[in-house]
Amino acid sequence: MVTSEYWVLTMSFHLILFLAFGAVCVAGAINLLAQRHPINSALSLIAVMAALAGEYLLLGAEFVAAVQVIVYAGAIMVLFVFIIMLLNAGEEEGTKGSRIALLLGVPGMLTASVLVAWVVLRHSGTESVEIGALPGAPKDIAQLLFHDFLLPFEVTSVLILIAIMGAVVLASKPEASPGRVD
């Protein structure tokens, strides 16, 4: 049960960092929704991912944080940005429907989220996470990955192979004469 004493007593380093990174996440997420040009959305998403990496570090998952930055923010989002550039995506126009949705949706979402947050906080138990709780070194993860989760690991490699082939086929320019099997 969250009480005011709990608040004051445990105002700690962990919490401050958590709140900081959390604020960045929230801001980035909201900005993603608010921006009209996709490139702005992409950039705010990168910010969110970076902040999430910080959260992972707080929890002690170093490897995951690193992979987050390298793969997610560094590769996937770069791909997104490239596509935005390639396709010359422009700003979205606001239609009448979207304006109404905005007018109604924003306050609605706000109230809904406050409500949910309040309920969750009231009913949460005393579970807590300590800073750096996880043993997140690559060595530990590798132990699991290559022993217990070996099969899924190999399957994902096949998955990536298929994804590559699919992406290449789908994105390639169609031949001049249709119907010719390549």
Partner: protein, 104 residues
């Protein structure tokens, strides 16, 4: 260092908020790339939730799962963007409302 604790529910709230934003963006946005990005946002929210629970229970498997989620997200992003390129070629638009030939 003094061991300091943050309630698990805070992490879960944050994760839920990110997920919700992803859903809202998926429903609201008309640009297909932005929709895709909302999906990625959703996945990130879920990842946070996984790691938080893994930390709470001191179970490493959570992180491994995050690893797999990322791999799948990467594959999905690659293929999905390729599809977007293919659709853009034929329909000349990124507005999702105009890709509506599959209707009754």
């Amino acid at each position: 260092m003094v061991a300091s604790y943050v309630p698990l529910s805070y992490y879960l709230l944050l994760s839920g908020f990110l997920f919700a934003c992803g859903v809202v963006g998926f429903l609201i946005k008309r640009n297909i790339i932005t929709i895709f990005m909302s999906i990625e946002l959703m996945l990130n929210g879920v990842n946070l939730s996984f790691v938080a629970f893994a930390a709470h229970w001191h179970a490493l498997a959570g992180q491994v799962f995050v690893f797999f989620v990322m791999v799948v997200a990467a594959a999905e992003a690659a293929v999905g963007l390729a599809i977007i390129i293919a659709v853009y070629r034929t329909r000349e638009t990124l507005n999702v409302d105009q890709v509506n030939l599959l209707k009754l």
